[in-house]
């Protein structure tokens, strides 16, 4: 398929996944604040930290109040990672590959975009924030479902899946990083109702609360980290995302599992096997934050390698043999 098209599908799904995750962060934080005991100030700064946009935020807003943070992450077109900006970018990408994706996918991206645009224009979010963020999540799920059942699981589909899963792995790692970093130091909170509520919020922002309960039962910080990082069955866990992403990458280039033909496969394979054999106790001992930071950096390198392998211009010598045929 065309390199440009592969790139656009990859970014289309990445941006939709990003929009969904931003909605998750905000929604859970809103819920969390409702449960805070009186006297404790609302915490909104971590949401800006998750997306790594602190500088931009400082420049545009200053104080990390609820109103400012929600505005910045939801509808601010000056923030390239706001829900609105993500949808706009996803739709632009979808528009440029309309003939490759199914019309149902295009319609869903378009409807999704129009919904967010209208919400931006009508200020509905202030009135019913939970309803809006739920709608965003559901629209994203619908997109994933529609993609799964209306588009052939061909090369383009695998590029889309790759974009979605890498984005998801990155965002889960960021949710965990910020919350862990902020919540854990309060040793005297361990075991209090507030602590329990906060940890359940971490899980809920990854829709992981119920599945975690089934696996581990009681909430424990190290197990929450274990579940979100290393679980092999939970679809938002980092490890699960990498396994699936690697499957798609290999489907694209048809390399057998355990081998690599290009830098993207090599880097993703390495990172996945690192998680294969990781143990949560070791990670925590060596420093969870350092581990997650390194994970995000390596994930970025995978993205770069994907771009260089499949999208960036290739030397003319690469011309397949068909050229030389005299026809």
């Amino acid at each position: 398929m065309l390199s440009r098209v592969a790139d656009s599908i990859y970014w289309m799904t990445r941006y939709i996944e990003r929009a969904e995750n931003v909605a998750r962060f905000i929604d859970v934080n809103l819920q969390l604040m409702l449960d805070l005991p009186a006297g404790i100030t609302e915490q909104w700064a971590p949401l800006v930290d998750i997306t790594d946009d602190q500088l931009l935020f400082q420049e545009r807003y200053g104080a990390t109040t609820r109103q400012n943070v929600v505005a910045f992450l939801t509808f601010d077109t000056g923030n390239p990672n706001s829900i609105y900006a993500c949808l706009r970018a996803a739709r632009e990408n979808a528009r440029s590959v309309r003939e490759v994706i199914s019309s149902e996918m295009w319609e869903q991206v378009n409807t999704f975009y129009l919904m967010v645009r209208d919400a931006a224009a009508h200020g509905r979010v202030t009135a019913e924030p939970h309803a809006f963020f739920t709608e965003v999540k559901m629209a994203s799920h619908r997109f994933v479902g529609i993609t799964d059942v209306t588009m052939s699981h061909n090369e383009g589909w695998h590029f889309g899946r790759l974009g979605c899963l890498l984005e998801r792995a990155d965002k889960t790692s960021r949710i965990l990083d910020v919350k862990y970093y902020l919540l854990l130091p309060n040793v005297h909170d361990v075991g209090t109702p507030v602590d329990d509520i906060q940890w359940s919020a971490v899980l809920k922002s990854a829709s992981a609360f119920e599945m975690y309960r089934k696996r581990f039962g009681l909430l424990r910080p190290d197990r929450v980290a274990d579940f979100l990082m290393l679980d092999r069955e939970f679809p938002r866990a980092m490890h699960y995302c990498l396994v699936q992403a690697e499957e798609s990458l290999h489907a694209i280039s048809s390399s057998p599992p355990g081998t690599f033909q290009n830098a993207a496969e090599q880097r993703l394979g390495r990172l996945r096997s690192e998680l294969d054999y990781a143990h949560i106790d070791e990670i925590i001992t060596r420093g969870l934050h350092e581990f997650l930071d390194a994970f995000q950096a390596k994930l970025n390198d995978v993205g770069t390698a994907i771009y260089e392998t499949f999208v960036a211009l290739r030397p003319v010598m690469d011309v397949p043999t068909r050229v030389r045929d005299v026809r």
Partner: protein, 482 residues
Amino acid sequence: MQFTTYDTDGFFDEMFEADGHPRAGSALLVQRIHALAEGELLHRQRAAEQALLHMGITFNVYGDEAGTERIFPFDVIPRIVEAADWAIIERGLKQRIQALNLFIDDVYQEQHILKDGIIPAFVVQSAKCLLPPCVGLQPPRGVWCHITGTDLVRDRAGQIYVLEDNLRCPSGVSYVLENRQVLKRTFPQVFEASRVRPVDDYPSRLLEMLQYLAPDGVTSPTVVVLTPGMYNSAYFEHAFLAQQMGIELVEGRDLVVTDGFVFMRTTKGLQRVDVIYRRIDDDFLDPLTFRPDSMLGVPGLFEVYRAGRVALANAPGTGVADDKVIYAYVPQIIRYYLGEDSILPNVPTYVCWDDTERQHILANLDKLVVKAANESGGYGMLVGPHASAAERAVFAERIQANPRNYIAQPTLGLSRAPVIVEDHFEGRHVDLRPYILYGQEIYVLPGGLTRVALRKGSLVVNSSQGGGSKDTWVLAGESDAC
């Protein structure tokens, strides 16, 4: 909603006779509309608009930052063309396209028509869209204008005329196909009972025609649609056609010329391209041959084309026959190459380079429509009766400064068709753009884009100037399949 108060105002109406009775082919539709419950038609109109918005059937408007994308306004009342009228249109278009193709071929080769004095040589030589690099070139299978979207209009008397030929990259066919999808849902029963000829096989026919152009020896050719990109006003259509044909939609940056062939950049390396349905203007196709500042084209493409290693549809150079001064000679062109009279007449056209005609034009600017020879989209024209004295003075000056560049035509009282305006029907002026494919043979799609000038009294139907569209139902005759 009822047609009881509908007024044809002395114009030819596509739906009603002058006495207020529906025309034969429209009777069923009118009856059905009258039978709808109050508010039902408006409800269907809104449902249709909603469907178009969600399908993303939009066009881009240049120079309008905030709302660069809009749906093409759409009216649910179809425009009906009866079988007898269509038979004439179809024969007339085939004749015209055949003659124009011969003309273009002749212009770039022997120029017999100029040597025989049928058209003054300077008129052709000064045509803005005459492309010197095409001189001596023979396009694949001898066809230049593969896809044409001829604009037809009707006057007060009901006579059909050709207004423009549009031999370059005519757009709009995607609306024909999408409007039909929407209308089938809007009026399913009438549609079924009316024996409307189908248009849905257009993409298959287009693909078949494009494959026919492939270089010799290529058995399963790679065909692509070349678009200027997603910010082009017709991008939706480019994507739509590529999707419907199941072929790649490429931009200039996706293509590269190497070793004398054209390739596209794919995730698995370079892949050869054999036929390009290009929706980029001639000037921008190849910066090495045409405009050097073009960022949209493919450097070296024209040389590959000259060598016969890639086919381009339409062939570069067809624009010469779109020049409105050359349009004035089409009846002579048809007689010269085919020895026949035109089946579809031209709108009477005065050319400003001729001293006598120019005097007549300048003296009658308040009655005429003046057009620049190479503008389209409703730009660069003066509708005399609707213009102010100052506007007419500007055009008089332009004509005198550059007479070769202008023509004038009588202001036609274009036919009208009813459209929904708030809660009632009003007549609006319409034209009709059928689409013609020229491959192994000439094929006329039985349908077309009916464009409506939605502003009351306006004669300009272009989408950039407040135009909308209607579905066009060509009714089957005794011998037609439907």
